[in-house]
């Protein structure tokens, strides 16, 4: 990749490299940055992380392609890629990854008023305001457009009542971007997009315990919550358009994750053993491991190809539904293989008889079942591919 840089990009890469050498705290080297992303308390309690976050925000590299006036760095996609590559090279991480950066920010840039941009984007850019997404409801899972959370125009404010579910990190969020119903006579055409302060009276978030034991998601209850009029994004009853765009950004970000995973061969050598020729002893398992690893390799090549083909400055495309389903299938199969390799050691829950690494594999196996459900289920993604990419007709 670096070989193809133009001179200007080579200079930029050098600049990033030097800056990282000076500014990235050595104590954080090799640390998994997602722990700060998923837990606000861990992040708040760690002064080294806070220092790193502030430094990174000061140069706008958490959102490098955003305009400088909103806290970004005003850079191009190629520079943004270079920042990511140099972070990886330095064993560093981007301390500013969030829902806000990935989904709300790009949406506000496209649909927000100037006032909304100024009010919110800088705090997304420096990661001092956490956002959660209030879309799903108990009666409306994949069928988002049937949502019921009621939003009434009270003249000088909106009044919101209803329930959301699968709201990731709602118990740790400062604000929520929400879909609400402003017209019950139409389906998609009666939905609006609203920004709600989670500290408003009448908002309550309750964590949901998942099969993997974690509580990543919440139910959120809105009981007569007053929301200022200026918190509406887009037109009244025009929220569906905004939401569709935002979901494209979500699929975009989901489809790219975890493309590079290490080989499971060493784990199998350890737990399963090898035959006289040094091959994994269980040939049936071995065959399935090889198949999964080959698909993962082809998936990585596909990510790269899609990026190359799309070129610079593109918006999200329908191809991401294909990527999401490929990735969830490959990742879930891999998680199954990990547990199969570990045998009964891959099925521990809560005691000292299992190593932490073993228990992490177990939890991840259970959690991985969500990959084909959240962020647009396998079924919904295939509907999108069939209709938008392949042009197949409606029934």
């Amino acid at each position: 990749m670096a070989d193809h840089d133009s001179t200007a990009l080579q200079d930029f890469r050098q600049e990033v490299r030097s800056w990282l050498a000076e500014n990235f705290p050595a104590e954080l080297k090799g640390v998994d940055g997602t722990i700060y992303q998923s837990n606000v308390h861990t992040a708040a309690a760690d002064p080294t992380y806070q220092l790193w976050r502030e430094r990174f925000a000061s140069v706008g590299w958490g959102v490098p392609t955003w305009p400088v006036r909103y806290g970004g760095a005003g850079l191009g996609t190629e520079e943004a890629v270079i920042i990511g590559e140099e972070l990886a090279r330095a064993g560093a991480f981007n301390p500013i990854r969030s829902f806000g950066v990935m989904m709300l920010g790009p949406t506000l840039l496209e649909y927000g008023t100037e006032e909304q941009k100024q009010t919110h984007l800088p705090y997304i850019a420096d990661h001092t305001r956490r956002w959660c997404q209030g879309f799903s409801e108990p009666g409306a899972g994949s069928d988002l457009a049937s949502l019921q959370t009621k939003c009434t125009d009270m003249g000088d404010h909106w009044l919101v009542s209803g329930q959301k579910i699968w709201t990731s990190g709602a118990d740790q969020a400062d604000w929520c971007f929400c879909l609400v119903r402003t017209d019950t006579s139409r389906k998609q055409g009666g939905i609006s997009f609203l920004l709600i302060d989670m500290k408003s009276p009448g908002v309550e978030a309750r964590p949901i315990v998942l099969i993997s034991g974690v509580t990543h998601f919440c139910e959120v209850f809105f009981t007569d919550v007053k929301v200022p009029k200026e918190n509406l994004v887009g037109e009244v009853n025009g929220g569906w358009t905004v939401a569709k765009r935002l979901l494209q950004f979500e699929r975009d970000s989901l489809s790219g994750v975890r493309s590079g995973l290490g080989s499971l061969a060493p784990l199998a050598h350890q737990y399963v053993g090898t035959d006289a020729e040094g091959r994994i002893a269980d040939s049936d398992l071995r065959g399935r491991m090889i198949h999964n690893a080959m698909r993962a390799s082809a998936y990585a090549a596909t990510l790269e190809r899609f990026r190359d083909e799309a070129g610079e400055g593109r918006g999200p495309s329908n191809g991401v539904s294909v990527l999401k389903n490929l990735w969830s299938g490959i990742a879930q199969e891999r998680a199954e293989l990990e547990v199969e390799i570990l045998g009964s050691q891959g099925l521990g829950w809560g005691d000292d008889s299992y190593a932490d690494e073993e228990r992490a594999i177990t939890r991840h196996w259970l959690h991985s079942k969500a990959y084909s459900i959240y962020g647009g289920s396998y079924e919904v993604q295939n509907n999108i591919t069939a209709k938008r990419s392949l042009g197949l007709p409606d029934a």
Binding site: G141, D143, L210, I211, D284, L285, E340, S344, L347, S353
Partner: protein, 371 residues
Amino acid sequence: MALNDEQIMLKDMAAGWVKDTMPTTAARALYGAPDGIGHAPDAWAEMAAMGWTGIIVPEAHGGSDFGFRSLGLVLEELGRTLAPSPLLSSALAVSALRLAGDAAQQARWLPGLADGSVIGTLAVDEGPRHAPLATALTATPVGGGWRLDGIKRPVQDGMAAHLAIVVARVADGGADDLALFAVPCDVAGLTRDPLDQVDARVPAIYRFDGVEVGPDSRLVGGTAMVDALLDRARAGLSAEMLGMMTQAFETTLEYLKTRVQFGQLIGSFQALQHRAADMFAELQLTRSAVEAALSAVDADADDLPTRASLAKALAGESLHRISRQMVQLHGGIGMTHEHDAGLYLRRAGVAEQCYGNAAFHRERWGRLNGF
């Protein structure tokens, strides 16, 4: 292969009792139980009172001698609600004594196993993967008896058991130096610790540190006998898995008929209809294989090894598929701890690998059939 009247009555009784007394909430209650032993003693007493603990015990020793096919009917119903019970483990101790015990050994243990006052288990594996031929636990002749040294893990229902049928190696060398010992779990030198597992069961680690047992603890037979016993374990566990997947499928089917999305019952979407039809077909194959394996035990059929491996492999494959689809088709709610789908998934993970996973049994079936 059709059920006789006694079997139909037994199945109906089991279905009713499990539904009333051991719904999935019962399994759920055992998850967080401190110092749990992986089953509910009250329920065990009821099962014993209904005669289930004696189903494969000869009448002379207090059982009903209904056979393994009948035992499978009860295990299948227990599987439907994931009811945690040492019924299979204890039955395997009965099988060991019937196959390989002399009159004195049978007289000592079978009445207690039949009336449920003794819970038995099979202690075979020693590491994370099922590998009976890799047994390292040694039995050394000492005085007139034997000294046992080594580790067994995981021992199914190991914290609840009073009697363990232990697979040991009696000499170095070939594969046929395996032997079975009937060992009381309170014997000196045996310590056991619970393994906290993803399902509601509590298997154990057994540590044998110079455990001395008398000459009357050794059962007859070698590797072939271990295999014969394990094939009963596989057939029995397959029956439980058949019940699990049948219920998982039915629960999912019910959800498809009630859940509305995009203005339609989701069960009206053709992609889901075909997925359900394919699963139903797999379920049919599996039921046939499992019932054939159970009947092969009762018939003492030569092809029991083939049938047992067919049953356990198909049960593993189908339960895998159906339990994963149970989560998928329930969507977000299926991912929550409060929904049953996660319980089926977790128990499926354990059952799939216990006594040999699908890969193990495909390989074994292939070898037995000249592939």
